[in-house]
């Protein structure tokens, strides 16, 4: 029986608590009275995944069963979430592979010849062939990739984009031409957190910059409170409006899955256990891992974390019409992630881990670290932020000056050129976004190499705009002083120093809340 999440109050019996710190972790003794939010334990997974998939496809919500939608001579497109979810990546076989194989089996039975599979990566980097194979599996890869029928979405390929119209708010809906012109678009989703899925899947995953800029901007993001709650998120409102336009033109069969919190296994299992329940074996594993990581060269440390694959259990799969499917999925996601928290606090503490959506098989550069902490973790709430208005956020991450020239070329320039001029999201949006979005070199790298789109670092910065607007102080513990300063934050050597630094705004005895994730949690702040 999985135990629910809960809020611990640090007392004299509490051992040091684990804090993620990039490619490593720390043991920290928090001040007495600190609230620590623990996520629920991993829910029991669905026992027979294949049966659950069949059941979802044959008994969809507000839709005909999938076999009835398939017919010979049709154009079938299967789009799927890219490598940015789940985090860390899933152990094989990936749930997307199992679903896609089931869908293709039905399509083959119906005599469908014209099938294409698209990785819905929007402005994310293209997936390498190996990464595609990891997601869809060997059989699918071998059947479709050599013929160019399994590929990454290209948001800059104007010839293969279709403008479906505008929403009543004047937002352009421009998506993949192939998807738009298909008789049926099957979207295979992994709903790792509450932000994913719904109309965000197709309307964002297969959309161009022209379409994305309507909601990926500082104004929308600052009013997405939070984007983990789609009913309170301006970004999701926009995506939902676009979804309405899209579904008027395209028949979408949405397949959504939700996963449990079984993230760390084997020698890293202690990372998802509650500290006071660590056995001698867990303590020994932690010590061995910590000392080993300290001793290991940076490359080896990076490889150790890059190779982490999670077990994940499927907690639910639903298919059919987008809205009812997403409602069911969110029920499962909330069951796994929601933790009730009473009231806000003066200070929120978060440990930024080694991975985020945009550095899978890559490095977490300073902008991505900021996005992970102040974007994703700060926004992991429903109701109100965990920290009060003008409160302080303290993050743990080394924030090394380290960029992947292959994956994040525009990030380097953004960091050096844009952030040196301003860190205000609205200012940099007005002054620099267009230039980066339309830069031919970045577009070339996005289309032909494995680079994120030139505008992507701007989106990361907009992602944190709500936190920047809400928080009075942001301090990084153990962060590289130069990089942290460039981003407009401050760095402290220890938690005690950080609390000292923020004491002018939150006082000497602030209320503190530490978000103990990953595994993922969603604070339901009352």
């Amino acid at each position: 029986m999985a135990r629910p999440g809960f809020v611990l109050e640090v007392d004299d019996r509490t051992p040091p608590l684990l804090v993620h710190n990039g490619e490593g972790f720390k043991l920290e003794r928090f001040p007495l009275g600190t609230r620590v939010i623990y996520p629920p334990e991993a829910l029991p997974p669905v026992r027979d995944v294949e049966e659950a998939i069949q059941n979802a496809l044959l008994n969809p919500l507000e839709s005909e069963p999938l076999p009835e939608l398939l017919f010979a001579g049709m154009r079938l497109t299967i789009a799927f979430d890219d490598i940015s979810i789940p985090l860390p990546p899933m152990k094989k076989p990936d749930i997307r592979q199992r679903i896609i194989e089931a869908v293709l089996t039905m399509a083959a039975d119906a005599g469908v010849d014209d099938v294409e599979l698209i990785s819905a990566n929007a402005l994310h980097r293209r997936l390498t062939p190996n990464e595609l194979r990891d997601i869809v599996g060997e059989r699918v890869f071998r059947s479709f990739f050599p013929d160019g029928k399994l590929y990454n979405f290209d948001a800059e390929d104007a010839a293969n984009l279709t403008h479906l119209g505008q929403t009543k708010h004047g937002e352009d809906v421009e998506i993949s031409k192939r998807a738009a012109e298909s008789d049926l678009l099957v979207y295979v989703n992994v709903n790792l957190v509450a932000m994913d899925g719904g109309h965000k899947s197709t309307s964002i995953g297969l959309a161009s910059y022209k379409s994305l800029k309507h909601h990926h901007n500082s104004h929308t993001m600052i009013h997405s409170r939070s984007f983990m709650d789609h009913k309170a998120s301006k970004m999701h409102e926009s995506a939902w409006r676009m979804g309405s336009v899209l579904t008027e033109h395209v028949k979408v069969f949405q397949i959504e899955t939700s996963l449990n919190n079984d993230i760390f296994g084997g020698p890293l299992e202690f990372l998802q256990k509650r500290e006071w329940e660590w056995s001698i074996k867990d303590q020994a594993s932690m010590l061995a891992t910590k000392r080993g990581l300290d001793l290991a060269p940076a490359k080896m440390r990076h490889k150790i974390f890059t190779d982490v694959r999670s077990n994940y259990g499927l907690t639910g799969i639903h298919a059919g019409k987008i809205e009812p499917v997403h409602d069911k999925t969110l029920e499962n996601v909330h069951r796994q992630h929601l933790v009730e928290v009473q009231g806000q606090s003066d200070v929120a503490i978060m440990g930024v881990p080694f991975i985020g959506p945009y550095n899978v098989n890559s490095v977490m550069n300073p902008i991505l670290a900021a996005c992970m902490g102040l974007g994703y973790y700060f926004n992991s709430y429903r109701g109100s932020p965990v920290v009060r208005k003008d409160g302080a956020v303290i993050l743990y991450h080394p924030v090394d000056y380290e960029f992947s020239q292959l994956h994040h070329p525009s990030y380097v320039d953004f960091f050096e050129e844009v952030l040196s001029e301003s860190t205000d999201p609205a200012t940099i949006e007005a002054k620099f976004e267009k230039q980066y979005a339309e830069d031919p070199w970045y577009i070339h790298l996005y289309r032909t190499s494995y680079a994120y789109h030139g505008v992507h670092p701007f989106y990361m910065w907009y992602w944190i705009s709500h936190a920047l607007d809400h928080c009075g102080d942001i301090v990084w513990v153990g962060g590289n002083r130069k990089t942290v300063e460039r981003m407009g934050f401050r760095s402290a050597s220890t938690l005690q120093d950080a609390l000292e630094m923020v004491s002018h705004s939150v006082g000497r005895s602030p209320s503190i809340t530490y978000l103990h994730n990953p595994p993922h949690l969603l604070a339901d702040v009352r």
């Binding site: 809960f6 611990l8 109050e9 051992p15 040091p16 303590q283 000392r291 300290d294």
Partner: protein, 310 residues
């Protein structure tokens, strides 16, 4: 390289020390108070203790108890035993029931029992506390002849009955755990149930002063060789047709009377029992500090050497 190695070694020592302190190596792990409602009760496995009642184990225990523990205990505390003559009224196995406020209680009872009786006495010990690790279970079984008993409700272990059938006396602390403030807690039904079920007498024991000598949280008695009183009472027998529910209050009252007797005299305590005015040994309804203050009133000044001059 040398510097790196020194730094690595220093950091390793620091990390190990942090874990050793944080996770209380060598001591019982603790759960933060706010996390207690979420603790999953551990499934206790039955630890075999039959070996602890073999002649060899009894001989080893005799050496450990009489040779080592008794000497150390009498060096650290000053046990005052009374009522041993009551034990001569018992023939055959009995359930020995005492109030419980310290880890000193078990050695106090065992070391003050007559030798022949002690050698045939086993102690019921909480399965979740004394039998949670193999080494703790082994140590307590060899030292005190303990056997595991479930204290968090549920069905009783079969062992107490088997032991009584085999002629062993069984020590039970019916409060289930040590008193947090030195005063008697509510007696649970276990001891009464065993006595009624097997038709054996209950020997009440009142222990006073052990909380002051070594309360919860201490691993060693306080300095100053405090006095601890152990008073045995006359055996009480379950009446014909008496249920455990009816018998349990009589046991509790007998222990209370012994504690009252400790504070007054046998005669006064008897008269108060007859009049139904025995003071409750549950302590005053007051702030915790006052309860602790009251319960730790020294029985008499700690034994001290006479001075050469007054």
């Amino acid at each position: 390289m040398g510097t790196n190695l020194v730094k690595f070694s220093r950091d390793t020592v620091r990390d190990v020390q942090q874990v050793a302190r944080g996770w209380r190596w060598g001591r019982r792990p603790q759960v933060p108070r706010s996390a207690e409602p979420y603790v999953i009760p551990r499934e206790t496995t039955v630890f075999p203790t039959k070996w602890a009642r073999t002649p060899a184990a009894i001989a080893v225990r005799e050496v450990l108890l009489k040779g080592a523990l008794n000497s150390v205990m009498r060096y650290e505390v000053n046990p005052q035993v009374s009522g041993l003559d009551s034990l001569t009224k018992v023939h055959g196995p009995a359930v020995i029931v005492a109030n419980h406020s310290s880890h000193l209680d078990t050695p106090l009872v065992l070391c003050t029992l007559p030798d022949a009786m002690r050698r045939k006495t086993a102690v019921a010990a909480a399965a979740d506390y004394f039998f949670d690790t193999w080494w703790r279970a082994t140590a307590s079984a060899i030292m005190f002849n303990t056997f595991p008993i479930e204290r968090r409700g549920g069905k009783l272990s079969q062992t107490p009955g088997d032991l009584l059938e085999d002629g062993w006396n069984v020590v039970v602390f019916p409060e289930g755990t040590r008193s947090p403030d030195g005063w008697m807690e509510r007696f649970r039904m276990g001891a009464a149930y065993i006595a009624v079920e097997h038709g054996v007498p209950v020997i009440p024991v009142g222990i006073k002063g052990s909380f002051a000598a070594m309360p919860r949280g201490r691993g060693w008695p306080v300095p100053g060789r405090p006095t601890v009183a152990v008073r045995y009472g006359d055996p009480i027998y379950p009446l014909e047709g008496e249920t455990p529910r009816e018998f349990a209050p009589r046991i509790s009252a007998a222990v209370s009377a012994l504690l009252d007797e400790e504070a007054t005299t046998w005669w006064e305590a008897r008269r108060r029992v007859a009049a139904g005015t025995s003071p409750a040994q549950t302590g005053p309804d007051a702030a915790r500090w006052r309860r602790v203050w009251e319960s730790t009133t020294p029985i008499k000044p700690a034994a001290s050497k006479r001075r050469a001059w007054k």
